[in-house]
């Protein structure tokens, strides 16, 4: 009798506690390696802190002031945004166009879809090594082609903008196909009747694309832009591998903010305080960009909604 109630009680506890137990690994891990480090970054950033020496004096905002007086910080900021824009804008446009072509009754659909996705399984480091050769100043593939056509080769490493284009190309190579498949899925969710109605109304294929497909893709575009903002502003692998030294060029032409964090923390200075300060600044920038994204997409969606109603 007693045993039975004991068992019942155990079973009831099982039912009550198990759901929390099952989700606990995620929350425990997130608090240890996600939330705590994020807050601890702020703590480190207001201290003197050496990679090996460890925690020093509380110095308030000195690390922030120091960093904000460095020209390299502003170079890194400029480079990060330049590379981000060069990789996200053309990528989203190309991905939508590719998706639109994949969204037809192709023969061998799976072949084409797998084909555009292939670069995704190549590690960014490997992509960078390949494109470092393609964009080499001397004896690089692109310059060789330009010269054989009678032009003069481009200084892919010397010119800041050219180096950003080269690095953005690596990012685009790896991610365009992936995003094209996301857009393809969204396009397939558009009811076919809408297309039919548009064509019955006499809209051309291009008109249909711009007036039906693109507006219907808006939520997906927002999703892709936000994820690529979070990832793109933290870019490290490709610019780090763009030359053998990994410092972003002699004049830091292509050094990004994450590379700057690495250089401050693990480079010559070994200054964790400053590295943490830049980390927090970048975090705030990403949050701000998220809000800007949100505001822009909201205003676009309201004007588009008005247009649609007319």
């Amino acid at each position: 009798m007693n045993q039975l109630t004991w068992r019942q009680r155990l079973s009831r506890a099982d039912v009550k506690a198990s759901p929390y137990l099952y989700i606990s690994p995620f929350f425990i891990l997130f608090f240890i390696v996600g939330l705590f480090p994020l807050l601890y970054t702020a703590w480190v950033s207001v201290h003197q802190w050496h990679l090996i020496g460890g925690q020093g004096d509380l110095v308030g905002l000195t690390n922030y002031v120091d960093v904000l007086q460095q020209p390299n910080f502003y170079k890194a900021l400029r480079n990060t945004f330049s590379i981000f824009l060069l990789s996200s804008v053309p990528q989203v446009i190309a991905a939508i166009v590719i998706a639109y072509m994949l969204d037809t009754n192709l023969r061998a659909k799976t072949f084409w879809r797998m084909g555009v996705l292939l670069p995704y399984v190549v590690a960014p480091v490997a992509v960078s090594l390949i494109f470092a050769k393609i964009f080499a100043d001397q004896s690089g593939l692109v310059n060789a082609v330009i010269e054989s056509l009678g032009g003069t080769g481009i200084g892919w490493h010397a010119d800041p903008f050219a180096s950003h284009v080269a690095i953005a190309t690596m990012v685009n190579f790896r991610w365009t196909g992936y995003n094209a498949l996301i857009f393809l899925a969204a396009m397939q969710a558009i009811p076919r009747e809408i297309y039919e109605a548009a064509i019955v109304d006499g809209a051309s294929r291009w008109r249909t694309f711009f007036s039906v497909t693109v507006p219907m893709l808006r939520p997906t575009v927002i999703f892709v832009v936000i994820t690529s903002t979070i990832g793109g502003l933290q870019i490290f692998d490709e610019p780090r591998m763009f030359d053998t030294l990994g410092q972003g060029g002699p004049d830091r032409q292509w050094m990004t903010l994450t590379m700057y964090i690495y250089e401050l923390g693990w480079g010559a200075q070994k200054n964790f305080g400053r590295a943490a300060a830049v980390s927090w600044l970048l975090f705030l920038i990403i949050v701000a960009m998220g809000l800007v994204n949100f505001a822009i997409t909201r205003s676009i969606s309201s004007t588009a909604g008005k247009k649609g109603r007319r």
Binding site: S18, P19, D103, G115, A126, I226, L233, R240, M241
Partner: protein
Amino acid sequence: MYNQMSSPMAQQLAGKGAARAVRRRLHGVDKRPSWRTYLVLALVLLVSIYPLYFTILLGSSDATTIARNPIPSLIPEGNLWDNMVRAVQSDIKFWTALLNSVIVACVTAASVVFFATLAGYSFAKLRFRGSGGLLVFVIATMAIPTQLSVVPLFILMAKLDWVGKLQAVIVPGMVTAFGVFWMTQYLREALPFELIEAARVDGASMIRTFWSVALPAARPAAAMLALFTFVASWTNFFWPFIILGSTNPTLPVSLQLLQASYFKDYSLIMAGVVVATLPLVLVFIAAGRHLVSGIMQGAVKG
């Protein structure tokens, strides 16, 4: 007659065959695209495949030929195997790196699948106080730029004496918010409540029910999640580079070393790229279609 007609109308009036005919004429749903679409797609494919072929071309060549011909001839030369052997035997610990990458990617994938399925099952099928809010919290964490926490994470790992050890790479990635969200979405639709209740009526404990009912039902989504996690882990560079360094590298870290120490011999570097990339390309050929459908399903739900 059907020229000015939409397909649902045609279906009403003249049956499915007529509807299909109308749709074929109206839009590319059923219509075969023109040769121009194929041409443009072929160019896109060329752009995504040529750099990889370029790698094989250079990897099968030698340093002098590469220096002489910046535009490689389209037929590979015969040195690929020799160059791959040289890359593997160079002093950058390629074997260690290969083994490390296999261990990290496999353990991470298995762990993410297990813990994400467990949590996803709980969120999708079990009733408990606060489940809605907690799930929103999980999704919100996906927007946190985790890479920015490297400094404290490094301090933490140094305290644990994990610097240079594989667990420093494996443990932080053992369960992901994306994985939990993904499995929640899948199990919500794929696992009927009746199955769970049947198991409970039969006297199975909660974990037993998970193990024998939820886990088998989750298999298709779990396989995709494993694939994504494997790719992400195999290609990851920033954190392994910082925490493992050159003493105990994963493949991307050792590729970086290869570039730094053999930058004059691009045939060797490219052969190294081939060695590091080939395993994943083979996985892709075998299971790439699942990757494709995984991305597309995730997009519709997400």
